[in-house]
């Protein structure tokens, strides 16, 4: 196979990059814009996309640089736009907006290989920066694929003559990334994590999701249609039945006629509770940027680095900015605070003056009817919700000043927070201590992963009333109206009111798919310093310190180095066994100082060897004859001769006669 090399010869002049290289650069820039588009101001996104497209079109049709009189104003406009939007240039959002703009501007002046390299490296950096905004599995995968055009850009700058199409150009980059995955994963596991950050971590308050520490009407609507995961719970033993999957977060005490707010109850190590049995479980909470830790029903003890309040709220010492895992025990059957002190009792009966007169009248009527029978009043109220034409909807009619009156006597429609709020007000008006609890209810049991997936749309509000002798008892008025809410979740209860992608088969597929997210969260995102230290527990090493990790890292990198080097050094062995044996003989003789010349035939060479080593004349003569026969006597040499020759070569040791 003979190829006449097409060579390109060039003195050290800078050639402009090829159209293909520029296409790949534009592709990486497009990827960067795509992963950042979520948080860029939309006007800037549109402007950048248009600028990129125009530049691409311009270079395709009229190759050349963009003139400076166009570039400088663009830079000024970019900086001005970022400052106008965010107020400054530093920080996560303005920084990434500025950097994305600079990348597009860089492309307007990328004509030479050096620019192309820098632009692609910058694109890599920006792809990484996109992960600061969210490190979900899908986002990470998209970012990883975004590396392909950047790597392909560098590769396309090398002067190779093998022509390939654009998709084929991306393939080697993919192969390279796949091949680097084992080393990358090892390094990822072993790189020592910082136990405390080197410089201040940003604490993004903007992206607040999840429950809020106060409850206003229609606060929940956004939450109830947000089907991102809120937390994942795995139980020791069987999971509790659906009707008992109440996860408490906040307890609301104060009502001002419109909003419910929580109250800082004194912290408490152990609640005044009599519990019958407990259930152990582990919660993996998605970042909320708040302190509250939802717990299943009544927690018996606060997990590490958190504290518990007297009403059963649990707060972490630091706000939850990353996925947080915690383990704890809860009671499902208990008697909480059997004795209520007067101050707390007063709190639990407080109502604003001059609101909801009809509700107060109804309460007085109920109290008159049932006298001292608190349980009877509760039953009557629930029956009222069930029978009086109340309906469950995520888009209720707006309520007036007397919100509870309006809801109970006019609109008759709403969701959990309306029911919980009005029921609690009714109870307080009737003289029964009551409070509102918010949290999550239900969730999807993922049988394959053996965990309970709780979404933000599972957010719920219910009431707790205090009954003499029984303590605080949970009452869920929503269940009286719409039992499906408890059994099937908010989206099923409000069927027909949700977009198509949140219903039916697709929802169930998403529920099952969530197991992958959980693996990702637990395996990658949640792999913190603590987990890293426990890495070698299966091997009997309790605590791995930083020095140990460094040693492990060095050892495994050395190991990968050996594997990589042997791959790099490996050469296809000689396919002709007779020739391979002859080469071995040559090496042995070369060791004795008799090297075969490049133009020396085997016969001449071995004759020379005989002259140099007269003591081994017979052996060498035999070897020479054998080889000549193997090579030249027959077309297909007999295997016996071959074996004999190879054996003879292996046994031959040159002795230098002095």
């Amino acid at each position: 196979m003979m190829a006449t090399g097409r060579t390109t010869s060039h003195r050290r002049v800078h050639a402009r990059v090829s159209e293909r290289t520029f296409d790949l650069m534009s592709l990486s820039a497009a990827f960067v814009l795509a992963v950042h588009v979520n948080h860029l101001p939309w006007l800037l996104s549109v402007a950048l996309i248009v600028a990129l497209a125009l530049r691409w079109w311009q270079r395709k049709h009229r190759p050349g640089n963009v003139p400076a009189w166009l570039k400088v104003p663009m830079l000024v406009i970019l900086v001005a736009a970022v400052i106008l939007e965010y107020g400054n240039l530093f920080g996560r959002e303005p920084g990434s907006a500025l950097a994305a703009g600079l990348l597009v501007l860089k492309l307007t002046e990328s004509e030479f290989p050096r620019d192309a390299r820098v632009a692609a490296a910058f694109a890599c950096f920006l792809l990484m920066a996109a992960l600061l905004f969210g490190q979900g599995l899908i986002a990470t995968l998209v970012v990883a694929f975004g590396l392909l055009p950047a790597l392909a850009t560098w590769r396309s700058l090398e002067p190779t003559q093998v022509p390939v199409t654009l998709p084929r150009q991306l393939l080697p980059a993919l192969v390279l990334l796949m091949a680097s995955l084992p080393l990358a994963l090892t390094a990822f596991v072993l790189v020592p994590r910082l136990s405390s950050p080197l410089w201040g971590t940003s604490n993004p308050q903007a992206a607040r999701t999840g429950l809020s520490d106060q409850m206003s009407p229609s606060d929940f609507t956004e939450l109830l249609t947000d089907d991102s995961a809120a937390m994942r719970v795995s139980f020791e033993g069987p999971p509790p039945p659906n009707g008992q999957r109440y996860f408490r977060a906040y307890v609301m005490w104060d009502y001002d006629g419109r909003d419910w707010t929580r109250l800082d109850m004194p912290a408490s190590d152990a609640l005044p509770v009599e519990a019958a049995g407990s259930i152990a479980y582990r919660i993996s909470l998605e970042p909320t940027h708040q302190h509250v830790l939802p717990t299943l029903d009544l927690p018996l003890q606060a997990p590490a680095q958190s504290h518990m309040h007297l009403d059963g709220e649990v707060f972490a010492d630091q706000s939850v900015n990353d996925v947080l895992d915690y383990t704890l025990h809860s009671a499902l059957h208990y008697r909480l605070q059997a004795e209520l002190d007067p101050a707390t009792r007063l709190r639990a009966l407080q109502l604003p003056e001059g609101f909801d007169p009809r509700t107060h009248a109804l309460a007085a009527e109920l109290r008159q009817r049932f006298a001292q029978d608190d349980a009877g009043i509760i039953q009557a109220a629930l029956r009222r919700f069930h029978d009086d034409g109340f309906s469950y909807t995520l888009t209720p009619a707006p309520l007036g000043r007397d919100a509870v009156d309006d809801f109970l006597f006019n609109t008759h429609e709403g969701f959990c927070e309306h029911y919980a709020s009005s029921f609690t007000v009714l109870m307080r008006a009737a003289g029964i201590p009551a409070r509102v609890v918010t949290g999550y209810q239900g969730g999807f049991w993922n049988a394959m992963g053996q965990y309970l997936l709780v979404r933000n749309s599972d957010a719920h509000a219910w009431s707790e009333v205090w009954l003499a002798g029984r303590g605080w008892v949970r009452v869920d008025p929503t269940a009286a109206v719409r039992p499906q809410r408890i059994n099937l979740g908010a989206s099923s209860a409000a069927s027909g009111q949700l977009p198509w992608y949140q219903s039916g088969v697709l929802e169930s597929m998403r529920n099952h798919w969530d197991i992958v997210n959980r693996w990702w969260n637990q395996g990658v995102i949640g792999f913190d310093a603590l987990r890293q230290r426990g890495l070698l527990t299966p091997f009997g090493i309790r605590e791995v310190d930083t020095g140990m990790l460094e040693k492990l890292l060095a050892a495994s990198i050395a190991l990968f180095g050996i594997v990589g080097l042997s791959w790099a050094l490996w050469r296809r062995p000689e396919s002709d066994p007779a020739l391979a044996a002859m080469r071995a003989l040559e090496r042995k003789l070369a060791g004795a100082g008799i090297a075969r010349g490049h133009s020396e035939g085997p016969q001449n060479f071995l004759r020379r060897a005989i002259r140099a080593l007269p003591g081994q004349r017979t052996e060498l003569d035999q070897l020479m004859r054998c080889y000549i026969e193997l090579r030249y006597a027959t077309v297909e040499p007999s295997p016996e001769t071959l074996r004999a020759f190879r054996l003879a070569v292996r046994n031959f040791q040159p002795h230098r006669v002095v």
Binding site: T7, M128, T160, L176, R193, I525
Partner: protein, 315 residues
């Protein structure tokens, strides 16, 4: 800057024997192997490594594991690209060299015969301030041109085979100094007299001249003033010369070193070279008589090459 770099390079070659080991002349074929392939990151490679470190510290600081994983992925890809760069050169063979012909002052073509068992992409060859890039697949011929100055043997200058394949982050290279020289032919003189021919030949040629005027052509240095067509030249504002029909039969030339008295060696060689060129251009048979050897009557490319080589090798 450049001078400093060259000084540094010289120092490195003096101090590091491994680098200089292969500066001795080597017999062909030359196969590149691990002991003579060096590899260092390019400037861009160093800059990218710094960028990777920044990204790593950043992702560790914000305990962003996805970013850390991606940084590790890029770092691993970088180190694999180093092995790929090494593999591009490892096992590459220069099987043979072939040289073309050139006279002193003109660049001479040298063809490298590269061999490799698998495809090697973006291999580059630096020789004599020129850079060539090519792929090697199976057997590949790469022709480079080398500037020449003097006639005679010209040893092939030291050359470098290198590559930054696949990502331009690492540069692998190996110095080559093949034991190979090319023969540079002497440069013919620019103008001078025609060779003196035997008497009767001379007369016969003159007989032909002046008889049938064929055409007018531009003046070339060395033309006799008697042949200038003065009237025609005045009309055309350029010197024109009457061109006579050449005699049909080419007379052989006997080009003799000894007839060129009064000139130094190089001038003699230059004149003989010019005559050889003219004879070759006219298809005229000639013989060359040198002090060292005598090349008998002949014509054609092979004969011409033999004569020129003999001239080139004169002391």
């Amino acid at each position: 800057m450049r001078a400093q770099f060259q000084r540094l390079q010289q120092w490195a070659e003096r101090r590091l024997p491994a680098l200089t080991q292969h500066r001795r002349l080597e017999e062909l074929p030359i196969e590149l192997h691990r002991q003579r392939i060096y590899i260092i990151p390019t400037g861009f490679g160093v800059a990218f490594t710094v960028l990777l470190l920044v990204m790593m510290v950043g992702s560790l600081n914000y305990s962003n594991n996805a970013a850390l994983l991606l940084t590790c992925l890029l770092g691993a890809a970088t180190s694999i690209s180093m092995l790929v760069a090494f593999r591009t050169l490892n096992g590459l063979r220069v099987h043979g060299l072939r040289a073309g012909h050139a006279t002193a002052g003109q660049p001479i073509d040298v063809t490298f015969d590269f061999q490799a068992r698998r495809l090697r992409q973006a291999v580059r060859l630096d020789i004599a301030d020129n850079s060539h890039s090519f792929d090697v697949n199976g057997r590949t011929d790469v022709t480079v041109s080398i500037p020449t100055e003097h006639r005679g043997w010209l040893a092939l200058p030291r050359c470098r085979i290198w590559t930054t394949w696949p990502l331009g982050l690492f540069r692998a290279w190996s110095w080559l100094r093949p034991h190979y020289a090319v023969l540079v032919w002497p440069r013919p003189e620019f103008a001078g007299p025609a060779p003196t021919l035997p008497e009767e030949d001379n007369r016969r040629q003159r007989l032909h001249r002046g008889e049938d005027l064929a055409s007018l052509r531009d003046y070339r240095s060395g033309d006799s003033m008697r042949h200038v067509a003065w009237k025609a030249s005045a009309r055309h504002n350029a010197l024109l010369v009457k061109d006579y029909e050449q005699p049909e039969a080419r007379q052989e030339w006997r080009l003799d070193w000894r007839h060129l008295r009064g000139l130094d060696n190089e001038a003699r060689i230059a004149r003989l070279a010019r005559w050889l060129n003219e004879a070759q251009a006219q298809g005229r048979p000639c013989s060359l008589w040198l002090p060292s050897e005598v090349i008998g009557l002949g014509s054609g490319v092979a004969h011409y090459a033999r004569c020129m080589s003999a001239l080139a090798l004169l002391p």
